[in-house]
């Protein structure tokens, strides 16, 4: 008889609009800084884009990686590899049987810089100037493949694509790889590098972006009455997941436990969340059941909350419905107010924030909320971090994506 392995988190890595690594990102988040800035180029003017700002990486990947790597990897893979190296080192560079090591790294958009650059080159200079590395750089599994190659993982490399839920879904899938016995250690997370004029124009065309051009740092304001859309961000978050037995055997420090994964789909609309929130509610409930926890165990929720008028409230009402009376004790953080929306990287970065909140007993703030939406019926952490209780605690990280993908992860303190 075999039991299902427990899954723990032993390493964190990130490169984000707030910092080039986890420590600087977390410091900036606790300080309530914004990563959004006016773009240092004239795209808005040149192309007539309605949005002139975004949340670009604080430390450009080309300043971190050697030049041959930046030429062989799309920026989305560059960000993933930077975060993966940090997470791996943080986990103590574990000795793992390669057959028992996996990589699951997702992107919502894929190698769009490579795709569009190659097309520009072809139109300007002809087909013979298209570089041979174009396909391996643009393919959406490229970040997963580069992480797989980095560590020599042979248990499987996967790239689950579910728009803005991708990073969380990757971590959920990695958890299942360990639970089902396919791997002992999985490097998992999400990445995105889509701050290019075309996707900026396309998101603006769908009217999902904030147009607060005169105040980029104040533009992402989840749950504020003046919210008007999300801020396009970029970056990557990667975690090292490990079976509890493997971590214990090598004496690894357990940062937190990944105890619940809940997945659902809305079956409703290609971009709009289902208004009653039933799909999101189902994902959260499934995650709690999977975790074997009750609502009383949850002290914190890292919301998906992108700062859109409709989406933020559907989620908040869903959280309230799932947690019932226990929702009164739960503190909600919407960290996209600071990072912008990392799309495929968001769910992974926010899993990292959730782990850090449990470790530090400190829920990160939600900035820019001058006047909370009166329909918000949850305790939102505003402006400054909020202390979380001692003892065994757990938190939910929600991630939802275009297409109606819903992922809820339950993380518990070590």
């Amino acid at each position: 008889m075999s039991s299902v392995p427990d899954v723990v988190i032993t390493g964190l890595g990130a490169t984000t609009p707030l910092g080039g690594d986890v420590a600087s990102t977390w410091r900036a988040a606790l300080a309530g800084e914004s990563g959004a800035r006016t773009l240092p180029n004239d795209w808005a003017e040149t192309y007539g884009i309605a949005v002139s700002f975004a949340a670009q990486l604080k430390v450009p990947s080309v300043d971190v990686l050697p030049r041959p790597e930046t030429k062989r990897m799309d920026p989305s893979a560059q960000y993933a590899i930077i975060a993966a190296r940090e997470a791996w080192a943080h986990a103590g560079s574990p000795e793992v049987d390669p057959e028992r090591l996996g990589a699951v790294v997702s992107s919502g958009i894929g190698g769009i810089w490579t795709t569009l650059d190659a097309w520009d080159t072809m139109r300007e200079k002809g087909a013979r100037r298209v570089l041979p590395m174009t396909v391996p750089m643009l393919m959406p599994n490229s970040p997963a493949a580069y992480v797989e190659l980095e560590f020599g993982a042979r248990a499987g490399a996967h790239a689950l694509v579910s728009a803005c839920a991708s990073g969380a879904e990757a971590i959920g899938y990695a958890c299942e790889m360990i639970r089902t016995g396919r791997a002992d250690v999985v490097v998992a997370g999400g990445t995105e590098a889509a701050i290019h004029p075309m996707p900026l124009a396309a998101f603006a065309a769908s009217r999902t972006l904030s147009t607060r051009n005169d105040d980029p740092a104040g533009a992402s304001r989840p749950y504020d009455v003046q919210r008007d859309g999300f801020v396009l961000g970029e970056g990557a978050g990667i975690v090292v997941l490990e079976s509890a037995a493997h971590a214990e055997a090598r004496g690894a420090t357990v940062l937190a436990r990944l105890v619940g994964v809940g997945l659902s789909s809305d079956g409703y609309h290609i971009t709009s969340p289902e208004p009653s929130g039933r799909g999101q509610i189902s994902a959260m409930r499934s995650a709690l059941v999977d975790a074997g926890l009750s609502t009383a165990d949850i002290v914190h929720v890292n919301a998906h909350a992108t700062s859109t008028v409709v989406g933020d409230l559907i989620e908040a009402r869903g959280v309230r419905e799932v947690l019932g009376a226990d929702a009164d004790r739960v503190v909600l953080s919407a960290t996209k107010s600071m990072t912008g929306h990392l799309l495929g990287g968001a769910g992974a970065l926010e899993t990292i924030f959730t782990v850090l909140a449990l470790m530090d007993r400190n829920a990160p703030p939600t900035i820019n909320v001058s006047e909370p939406d009166p329909e918000l019926v949850l305790d939102l952490v505003r402006d400054t971090p909020r202390a979380l209780p001692d003892g065994q605690i757990a938190a939910i990280n929600n991630s939802f994506g275009f297409g109606g993908h819903n992922v809820a992860l339950v993380v518990a303190s070590a």
Binding site: R67, P68, R129, L131, P132, M133, P136
Partner: protein
């Protein structure tokens, strides 16, 4: 305007160095792309593509397998210039 052999060598060394990350002073004419510089076929085709553009020449695919060393490539490009 044709490039001199020296210019072609210098330009090719730069391309190879950028592609591989090897220091430019290690990319010498007698070095073998595969055995010494550890360049795989995808990297070799990248170098060919970039060299074609830089020197405005055509390096046919059939010819690439004959370019064993950096010096071979320089000689071919010298001869292929219009």
């Amino acid at each position: 305007m044709a490039y001199t052999e020296q210019e072609i060598l210098a330009g090719l060394v730069e391309i190879v160095s950028e592609e591989t990350g090897l220091p430019a002073d290690s990319v010498l004419p007698e070095k073998s792309f595969t055995d010494d510089l550890d360049i795989d076929s995808l990297s070799m085709m990248t170098i060919v593509t970039l060299a074609e553009e830089k020197f405005d020449v055509r390096i046919p695919d059939d010819e690439v397998k004959n370019l064993a060393t950096v010096g071979d490539a320089v000689s071919f490009i010298v001869g292929a210039q219009g």
